[in-house]
């Protein structure tokens, strides 16, 4: 980008903030200032005003002007443990010691709590009690939306000429966000069906067709009736505000909203790697069927036997 174009961008930025625009232009037009001086004035003003008006101005944009949200992103909070407020506590697997303990975290929900119907609260309690083996994350199931976006692993956004693709490191989950051809979900899936559009600088995605899934390790959940509305807004080149409204009349009294920042992974080496977690889930899913365990559970001694 040339120096002139930088100035242009900054001027556009200045027009948005509430400082004396007329004063700036008066200064700019003063005959005694050279272009260099004008540049310095602008730079100083931008430097001073920058922190106040970073939103929507100093963000990367695509050629056609839309925010460029391509890149690798990750949450940095406790939401995957519990969307609601959580004091630290023993984890679901005591044998891991402090490694498996639940860290503390504040709620990421507006209003603090999920407005469950009473019957659904019972389900959450049952989920929580069985979380060591029944949490879909423990089983390496695709995490669904919105959970995929706040798991403690990165995901990558690709903005193509038409649609947007989001690829998640966890379980290699992936979804296409259809930007033009909006149709109702033709069938249910773990990552649902995503129809997206831009509302000024905010990417809005409506997700439906989701299989029933958990929202976190605490057993919070939605059903196949869930409708998720996501809003992605670049705050700075490195911060994405992620806001999600969850509607599911089967289990909630009313729609509720999550809000959190997502952080750009800025290290040069950042990339997604394999996390094919099926093999890490087989112990909790199938170990009762290993030859050794199966016959031990039946009280049959097979020591010394071959399996043929």
């Amino acid at each position: 980008m040339t120096g002139i174009s930088i100035i242009f961008v900054k001027i556009k930025g200045l027009r948005i903030i509430d400082i004396s625009e007329s004063a700036v232009y008066s200064l700019m037009s003063y005959r005694g200032y050279t272009m260099l001086n004008k540049t310095l004035i602008l730079c100083c003003l931008v430097f001073v005003a920058g922190p106040l008006q970073a939103q929507s101005t100093d963000i990367p944009r695509l050629a056609e002007g839309l925010p460029n949200i391509s890149g690798i992103w990750q949450s940095l909070n406790n939401a995957n443990w519990n969307l609601e407020a959580q004091v630290s506590q023993q984890g679901p697997l005591e044998s891991l010691g402090a490694i498996g303990a639940v860290p503390p975290g504040q709620s990421v929900i507006r209003g603090g709590q999920i407005p469950y119907k009473a019957s659904a609260l019972d389900q959450r309690s049952q989920n929580y009690a069985a979380r060591r083996t029944e949490d879909p994350e423990a089983k390496c199931f695709m995490p669904g939306i919105p959970r995929a976006n706040y798991m403690p692993q990165p995901f990558q956004i690709f903005q193509t000429d038409t649609d947007i693709m989001m690829v998640y490191q966890f379980a290699g989950a992936v979804r296409t966000v259809y930007m033009d051809n909006h149709i109702n979900a033709p069938l249910d899936g773990w990552m649902g069906w995503s129809n997206g559009h831009w509302e000024e600088d905010t990417l809005v995605i409506e997700v439906s067709g989701l299989n029933p899934n958990w929202l976190d390790r605490a057993g919070n959940f939605y059903t196949s009736a869930a409708k998720i509305t996501e809003r992605y807004t670049l705050l700075t080149p490195y911060h994405l505000n992620y806001e999600v409204t969850v509607e599911d009349p089967d289990v909630y009294e009313e729609p509720w909203t999550i809000s959190m920042p997502l952080y750009r992974r800025v290290e040069e080496s950042a990339r997604l790697f394999d996390f094919k977690c099926v093999e890490f889930a087989e112990e909790i899913m199938y170990s009762h069927l290993t030859r050794e365990n199966y016959f031990r559970d039946l009280g049959i001694d097979i020591s010394g036997d071959s399996d043929e």
């Binding site: 290699g172 033709p186 080496s269 394999d274 030859r291 071959s306 399996d307």
Partner: protein, 330 residues
């Protein structure tokens, strides 16, 4: 899971589409381009094919079928597919092929007159394996005989929904779900494979694929455009996947694959590949086939989430062992 044409229409249209692997293209066709000027390969594609990886030995160096031979092959393949769902046969104890569109004759196919996908060596067959590979193959065979029923993690990778060997690279047609969604930006090409919902993220910086890498199931890929051809270089595989046709002979950093994707018409991408692993094969080998455009969307393949196969296979084996013990009076 998409239909561009059924067996019947493939039978009829194949004739005008085929000229070996280089398909006829309209003179008026112009390469579609992205907003930044690269050829558009974004879209939905299939490589579903009845062309085998290796040429039947009886065909020698015959590289292409005649149109009449191709039609006859399709007819026989059609009969073969329907045989698999014939009531009262062992083969019938399976999915309903037609219900799940696993019958290739009911699905889209990418017509191709070739007698084999392999184009080099000239006999259309995999080159001779190294002694090291053959030793591993034999050792795995012995191990498998003894341990394959022990637990989930001694079962095959595809049965466990970890990966299918044909995912490659090189990408090879599967018996079903040979569907792909390609996406592209100025900096990346993203290849999503229907099978296992696996995704290959390919940076287009043309750099060394081993740089900034970890061993990966589908290797580490880097790409670049050579004119209108996307060239993708891949190495540093995980050591967990098998060489073609050789279970237990794993592919790792010694394996090196070059793929070339060239869009040659509105509905065809020519795909060429060369694979070289001197620890597995005594020479490199190459293949070629077309990807055919299909209508989207591509649906989610949630294999592990619905995998009742592992549970049933292991519990069936345990029951069999228990029955045998009881019969022996234990």
């Amino acid at each position: 899971m998409n239909r561009i044409h059924t067996f019947g229409s493939a039978f009829l249209t194949g004739a005008c589409l085929l000229s070996g692997n280089v398909l006829a293209q309209s003179e008026s066709w112009e390469m579609p381009r992205t907003s930044w000027g690269d050829p558009v390969i974004q879209g939905y594609w299939t490589n579903s094919s009845l062309v085998p990886l290796q040429r039947p030995t009886a065909l020698g160096t015959k590289e292409f079928y005649s149109l009449e031979e191709y039609r006859e092959n399709l007819r026989r393949a059609f009969e073969g597919e329907t045989d698999e769902t014939q009531a009262g046969t062992a083969a019938d104890v399976h999915y309903q092929f037609d219900d799940y569109l696993m019958n290739r004759t009911a699905d889209s196919i990418a017509p191709n007159l070739r007698t084999s996908i392999i184009s080099n060596p000239s006999n259309g067959r995999l080159p001779e394996a190294t002694g090291e590979a053959l030793e591993k193959l034999e050792a795995y065979s012995v191990w498998r005989e003894e341990h394959q029923w022990d637990s989930a993690n001694t079962r095959g990778l595809s049965e466990r929904c970890l990966i299918w060997g044909q995912e490659g690279p090189p990408i090879l047609p599967l018996g079903y779900n040979s569907t792909y969604q390609f996406m592209q930006t100025e900096d990346y090409v993203i290849l999503q494979l229907e099978m296992i919902h696996d995704v290959r993220i390919i940076p287009l910086d043309g750099g060394n694929p081993a740089k900034n890498s970890l061993p990966q199931w589908l290797g580490n890929s880097r790409g670049h455009w050579e004119g209108d051809t996307l060239v993708v270089e891949t190495t540093r595989f995980s050591g967990r996947t098998d060489a073609n046709g050789m279970r237990g002979v794993s592919l790792d950093s010694n394996n090196h694959v070059i793929e070339r994707f060239t869009r040659v018409s509105e509905d065809t991408i020519d795909y060429e590949f060369t694979i070289n692993d001197p620890t597995v094969w005594k020479q490199s080998w190459s293949g070629v086939y077309p990807f055919k455009a299909i209508d989207g969307p591509m649906f989610e393949y949630a294999c592990h989430e619905g995998n009742y196969g592992i549970e049933n296979i292991l519990s069936g084996k345990r029951r069999e062992e228990l029955d045998r013990m009881e019969a022996a009076g234990q």
